[in-house]
Subunit: 418 residues, 2 copies
């Protein structure tokens, strides 16, 4: 297998990285931040090539915007590297420890995971982002970026290699798969002898590919079919800005609201208010029969929502509206259609709030708050590796700790097991 | 897919279980323990059928011993259920919580994982063991036991169902795949819509099958190619009993010593002592050229060890002996041949001890202690779900916590993200 050499080199680099000090790692991050600014002209020229090619290939404005770097954006990226540098190094933490009856003195020590494989799409900032998170936690990384960013990434990786060369850290701490052939993704997913963890950062199809093909543990997530349930006891005036925020602040994100569930008893009063504010915010509504009957009084031309639409992210200013009979029905709807990302209840009733929080099985469940809060920075984690919607290892926004594991260390005075 | 109905039923049961109280779960466990004793005749008769069939099929004495239940063993199994019942329920624990600048009051609450799939081999005690661990933590379980235990398991499952029927817990909390066709294992591994976690409890081939086929996160482990490195500063008299314990206390377990690494400077003095004590304990030695030259002085007829033998578990009273030049070489050997399970150094030198602990990447690393300590009970975890040799979610012996995940709960006073 062609990628085997990459795997062997990464594993060796991970071994060396696991022995590096916080000071060495921080120096490397500082150097990367410096070189990003020093070489900004070179980066922006390469990025312009990618943008030009993207335009010629007819890629969407949204993708081109994700691809585009500016002097300002580059400064932000360099600042983010310094931010990660400033975080507390989790490696070496004694998680817990105790002395057992046998006399064994046992400790759990936080250590790097080893080698992380990251597969991502058009955003060049992810390259720097992931590299800084992995270096901070002493992990080696194999990157496979989108082919749309090939020119930008080539320069970024050169800068990272340059920075590594100026420090004591191994050059193979960061490696890339530059060949755009998708067969190398599949090969990476099978490198279980060398790679300890796969993080896909992209759409649903990429996550599914990883789940199906990988023999390495995968962190799946990033897909958010998020709901807000507005209870009959909700304060409408307070509820509306939350719904607007959850839907419109940044519609392309995974923590954006997709479906609003409205209690039947308040539908006639609340939906006309919703219709007006959504029109003011250019949000298009899709509704079930019953909700549509009320919403269309205002001539809003509301479309009938389909079952498929209820199961997917709009990633745009579109909102589904469903009338439900009870809180239990709202929970049932979320069980059937939710992706386990972020769910919220708007209510003034304490019992209903607790019932919703207990019954809904999602990474993040809110009471009287926008679903937009599900984010590493908003959660105070300092950085975000990814948002996990699976339940093993890490759930929800993943901070630096999610790039670590632990080692049990047992000290004995010449101890045997009885 | 035939198993889909099982998946749907398990997911519904998991939803109900997640709302159950500690009292309800403990009552179910107590009932299972009672019914095991009350129905012991019926269980032992069914078990005799399995044992008879196993003998007729010419299965090994080791497998038949694993299969065999006696009145005494059944009492131990029932006692183990009561032991799990007596553990603290991890569900509902507030792991941490804080108020963010935005005003969001965030908590992390421990919750069940959901549906666990367990694939195991000939041990009928695993059926009860896994069921009690899953029920205690509010998880539904789909069991796929070995076909050798089909008669015993059928009775055990009837008893568990009977116990569930006498409580408020859902009957589908525990389901089994009774059809011995191996294609149902593959089907189970693809049920990612319903099953949240797969735990294989068996040999290397089963773990590999799960890694390759599963679209569900798998906890791999249980394979132990464990080493002891005896440093030149070791106390020989103290070292020998540790080596004997690690190799002979229960040779079929995964935390058993497979390869002893001996520092060159002490080989001439130490190996003859080793040879003698190993002969006394019926341990057969396999050695590299150099070690053999010393060991065969006693006419021990030591075999030359092969590369393949160094990579596998003996599961018997066989021990590999390798001479290494330095501690670094010992670490290199472990990096190449170890399975990341349990590794130990015997030394009187503090610097060497710390160096070994830091350089060796394994679930458990020991100083002057037997590798046999890697075990849930020995680690004070109260119970053992499995021993993980992968690095995500859980590493080493897994206690009840490893059957849980967490949910982020955010309370706001009508909060929007700025």
């Amino acid at each position: 297998m062609v990628l085997q050499q990459l795997g062997i080199a990464a594993k060796q680099a991970a071994f060396e990285l696991s022995q590096s000090t916080s000071k060495q790692k921080d120096f490397a991050l500082n150097t990367i931040a410096d070189l990003l600014i020093l070489n900004s002209d070179q980066i922006l020229i390469a990025n312009q090539k990618d943008v030009q090619l993207a335009k010629e290939s007819g890629l969407s404005d949204a993708i081109i915007d994700r691809l585009l770097l500016t002097e300002e954006r580059l400064k932000t990226i360099a600042k983010d590297v310094l931010n990660v540098m400033g975080l507390k190094d989790p490696i070496g933490e004694m998680i817990d420890g105790y002395t057992l009856k046998s006399g064994l003195r046992l400790q759990r020590k936080r250590v790097p995971i080893g080698v992380i494989g990251v597969i991502y799409e058009a955003r060049p900032n992810v390259t720097i982002d992931i590299v800084s998170l992995c270096l901070k936690t002493g992990n080696a990384v194999i990157l496979r970026g989108g082919k749309e960013t090939i020119n930008t990434n080539t320069v970024l990786i050169k800068i990272i290699q340059d920075a590594l060369g100026r420090t004591d850290l191994p050059a193979n701490a960061v490696q890339t798969i530059t060949n755009p052939d998708r067969k190398f993704i599949t090969q990476l997913l099978k490198l279980d002898r060398y790679v300890d963890m796969i993080i896909p950062r992209g759409g649903a199809a990429l996550h599914q590919l990883c789940r199906e093909q990988s023999t390495i543990p995968v962190i799946t997530g990033g897909i958010g079919v998020c709901h807000i349930y507005i209870d009959e006891t909700a304060d409408f005036i307070k509820a509306l800005p939350i719904i607007v925020n959850a839907k419109t602040q940044r519609p392309s994100t995974c923590n954006t609201l997709e479906t609003l569930l409205v209690h039947r008893n308040i539908a006639k009063q609340f939906l006309p208010m919703l219709s007006q504010i959504m029109a003011e915010n250019d949000v298009k509504l899709h509704a079930n029969e019953e909700a549509r009957a009320i919403l269309d009084i205002n001539g809003a031309l509301v479309e009938l929502v389909t079952d498929i639409e209820l199961r997917q992210e709009w990633l745009s200013k579109d909102l589904n509206v469903i009338i439900v009979d009870t809180l239990t029905d709202a929970v049932e709807h979320i069980r059937e259609y939710g992706s386990g990302h972020s769910e919220s209840i708007l209510t003034r009733n304490l019992i209903n709030a607790e019932k919703f929080v207990n019954l809904v099985d999602a990474a993040a469940v809110y009471v009287n708050a926008s679903t937009r809060f599900t984010d590493g920075a908003q959660f105070g984690l300092g950085a975000e590796v990814a948002v996990s919607t699976q339940k093993l290892h890490a759930r929800g926004p993943m901070g630096l700790d999610a790039l670590t594991t632990y080692k049990w260390i047992g000290y004995g005075d010449d101890l045997i097991r009885e």
